[in-house]
């Protein structure tokens, strides 16, 4: 389905609402290495124009894979329930 480029982490509160620690909320999958490394895949940056254009296609290809759709966590391979096509784009998930 593609390479994992980043983990999305979250702080999940426990029953009393206190922060309980950092959890992996999901994965950032697919798209090019540079699009992730340079921050274009998650809308951290919108410029400079040239670098954005270089990575635009890859950034659009990057998907967000929520942790609850993952069946098996292996060291090399991660099994996923559902196919890749219905995953949301990372660009649409992150805050603008």
């Amino acid at each position: 389905m593609g390479r994992v480029h980043d983990l999305r982490i979250t702080r999940r509160p426990d029953q009393d609402g206190r922060p309980r620690g950092l959890f992996v909320a999901g994965l950032a999958v697919g798209g090019g290495r540079l699009a992730h490394a340079w921050g274009f895949a998650e809308r951290r940056a919108t410029g400079p124009w040239l670098l954005r254009m270089m990575t635009a296609r890859a950034a659009r290809a990057a998907r967000y894979l929520p942790a609850d759709r993952i069946v098996g966590w292996g060291p090399e391979v991660i099994r996923v329930r559902s196919d890749g096509a219905d995953l949301p784009r990372l660009l649409d998930v992150v805050e603008p």
Binding site: A37, W38, G39, R44, T46, P48, W49, L50, L51
Partner: protein
């Protein structure tokens, strides 16, 4: 306000002129006249853009620009850049120490090798005892002595139309080859767009406790300081052109860099020029040492900085002391400092993209920079400079080999 202004400006000038400029500008002026002055203009614009960007990052995050670089480049590339810059700095500090020693030799008549250890001890004492701001102010102020080169241009009664014709020609002088011309263009870029100028300008912004509201002040410093540095560089090229070019003299020593000033302005001019050379090389020694220390400390997340007493930043202090010792040992091998400088600035130009790219990326990161993120001007100039630096980086080593370091 006025004080902060002068401080930043001095830091910009002091950062711009160092041994690389003293050597490369005189060499280029003697061989190519002002036909490479356009490179200096480009270098000034490029470094202004990146110095402003990194200082803006520092204002916003209160951390030096390169602090955020590792997550952008990844640890591998960042390590490559780090090791490269460590080696280049060792060469450069060696050359700067020799520059201090040669200035002292010309003033005193005592052989420069005797001055090298003394210069190293002096540098160490300053690092150990004086706070950052005081050192910067002292050598910045002394560095203004370099303006004597600008005065010397007028005193040499130049033929202005010939100077202009030379400055507006983009081609090697007759008898010189294109590869040599381009090689020296790269040398000038390496000497004038040094990453440590960015480090230093942005660290200065932190240590002077500038805040986002000081944005205008910082920009004024950039707009005044760096072009002034560029003016000095072109002045050195011009006096070398006027005195050496027609005589067919090749610049092989620092003494030749100051000779035109002596011819134009006499002993007083020579003395002022020597003070300027001393201040510029001394300041640059501190700057290069510190920026390497910062570089390493930031890569591993160590404590760093001049504001803290040495014992609070021991790894930082130990690193720069070790580097200083290494460079002193190199200087004592009697390697020709001019040759070493040329190699160091060429290798430095190879590393330029590694220094520029992360700054450009962080400057655009809206989540870090908020409303201080790069505007269109910064991005346009920044991208062009980055592309230029990639070309320079790729061409530097082949040209170095092809021209035998500019010998032919």
């Amino acid at each position: 306000m006025l004080f902060g202004f002068t401080l930043g400006t001095l830091s910009a000038i002091g950062g711009f002129i160092d041994i690389g400029d003293l050597v490369a500008d005189a060499l280029v002026g003697a061989r190519f006249g002002l036909r490479l002055a356009w490179v200096t203009v480009l270098a000034v614009i490029g470094i202004m853009c990146y110095a402003e960007m990194s200082a803006r990052i520092a204002l916003k995050t209160r951390r030096p620009a390169f602090d955020l670089a590792r997550s952008r480049l990844g640890p591998r590339y960042a390590l490559g850049g780090l090791i490269g810059s460590f080696l280049v700095t060792a060469l450069l500090v060696m050359a700067e120490l020799s520059g201090i020693a040669l200035a002292l030799q010309l003033a005193s008549g005592v052989h420069y090798l005797l001055w090298v250890p003394i210069a190293a001890v002096l540098v160490f004492i300053v690092i150990w005892t004086l706070p950052f701001e005081a050192t910067e102010r002292i050598y910045g102020l002394l560095g203004l002595a370099m303006l004597v080169f600008v005065v010397a241009v007028w005193h040499l009664n130049p033929d202005w139309s010939r100077m202009w014709a030379s400055a507006t020609t983009v081609a090697p002088t007759s008898g010189e080859s294109w590869p040599a011309y381009l090689f020296f263009a790269i040398t000038l870029i390496g000497a004038q767009m040094t990453p440590y100028e960015m480090f230093f300008f942005s660290s200065g912004a932190i240590e002077s406790r500038w805040r986002p509201k000081d944005l205008t002040e910082m920009r004024v410093n950039v707009i005044v300081g760096f072009p002034l540095g560029g003016l000095l560089a072109i002045a050195i090229q011009a006096v070398a052109f006027l005195v050496f070019f027609d005589a067919g003299i090749q610049v092989e020593h620092i003494s030749q860099t100051v000779l035109p000033v002596a011819l134009a302005l006499g002993k007083v001019g020579l003395a002022i020029a020597l003070v300027g050379v001393f201040a510029a090389t001394f300041g640059a020694t501190l700057e290069t040492l510190f920026s390497t220390g910062y570089d390493l400390a930031q890569y591993f997340g160590w404590a760093y900085g001049e504001v803290q007493p040495p014992a609070r930043a021991t790894r930082f202090t130990t690193t720069i002391t070790a580097l200083l010792l290494l460079s002193t040992a190199l200087a004592l091998t009697t390697l020709n400092p001019i040759t070493v400088t040329i190699y160091a600035v060429v290798f430095s130009s190879v590393l330029l993209p590694f220094a520029f790219l992360p700054v450009l990326l962080v400057g655009n990161d809206k989540r870090v920079m908020g409303e201080l993120a790069n505007g269109r001007l910064s991005n346009t100039v920044g991208t062009i400079t980055l592309l230029l630096s990639i070309v320079v980086s790729a061409a530097a080593i082949p040209l170095l080999i092809l021209t035998k370091a500019g010998a032919s």
